[in-house]
Subunit: 202 residues, 2 copies
């Protein structure tokens, strides 16, 4: 069994915790569908990683809610927040269950492929190679959305994960990037990240 | 406690069951967010109704999978389908948990509103009045998407629920319609359904 991180209370606003949990749970569902559709081990692993993060956030949120409630009225009002947080946690669990099909090598049944194929957008998880033209560029100057219809939705650098990175974020070599877009754009983006294509059309 | 329907096996293709479960679970999450955001009792009730339907579909799917498996290889391959179905069921449970906040009158905490307000689209559930201009029209001729950016995502008529109704579906008086769109379009659509506005701009 994997040893899990000890959860220690950190003063993070409940609001920030909830927004991150909601964003992550939605991202995880999309990732899990994509993982199943393309039988992608890296995407499935990302879902499992994110699930641990959502679990941690859920613990932190519960602790913060306990500390914030000074009287019965506070508690009544905050219970609505913890219920929503628990629901996003449940959604992230469901995504991890789906990812497990890929990780356990159960294989994706044609029926599942059919149910999922309606997705117009594809997701990818790719590591930037040192010779990639993306390295050293800010997201704002790359304009990937305008140029190839690709959105970068997460960057993992060392142990840090940034969801919805900002325009001024600079891509570094070795960044693990999760991106979403039309299949043709995703293919182009992967080649750029892997240094196979060296020119970024403008 | 509400008496639940007895589940009786019906020969429905597993594929159809899974696709409906997936579509419903996604719709329910959107409905639950909208229910919370607008503190809407009708939308929250719709989520609870749909949850019962997903539960029924989950039972039927499990039964169908059991009947379809003739040997160990079939069973190994079908387990991937039942896991995905169980995951969509879990997602629908999470949506129902969120809807319960509205139905129990817990009230929606400002933090939750903030986490949900990013939604650009709004959902509504409205009953068509006998004097509505929509009554007797086919969806195809109404062109609600082109005219006001509104998509009809479900029609409940008596006990029948049609998800993603087709172009040739004719609206009847007393239909309970769930629709999605930009807030201004949704407002216009509600007035048309309620017979308050009698002209459909072309």
């Amino acid at each position: 069994m994997t040893r899990l991180e000890k959860i220690k209370y950190k003063p993070v606003p409940v609001r920030d915790l909830l927004i991150e949990m909601k964003d992550l749970s939605e991202l995880m569902i999309d990732l899990a569908y994509s993982a199943a559709l393309f039988n992608s081990q890296p995407l499935a692993e990302e879902v499992v990683e994110l699930e641990k993060r959502v679990d941690n956030l859920a613990y932190l949120l519960d602790m913060s809610a306990m500390l914030a409630a000074r009287d019965a009225r506070d508690a009544e009002s905050l219970v609505g927040v913890t219920v929503v947080a628990a629901a996003t946690d449940k959604i992230s669990d469901a995504a991890a269950d789906m990812a497990a099909i890929v990780l356990r090598g159960i294989g994706v049944h044609p029926i599942v492929l059919e149910a999922f194929k309606k997705m117009e957008e594809q997701l990818t998880k790719v590591e930037t190679k040192p010779n990639s033209v993306l390295v050293g560029k800010r997201l704002g100057e790359l304009q990937l959305a305008a140029k190839m219809g690709v959105d970068i939705i997460a960057i993992r650098r060392d142990k840090e994960l940034t969801i919805n990175p900002k325009e001024d974020e600079t891509i570094k070599k070795g960044d693990i990037i999760t991106a979403r877009g039309a299949p043709s754009g995703i293919e182009e983006f992967e080649k750029l990240a892997e240094g196979i294509v060296q020119t970024l059309e403008s």
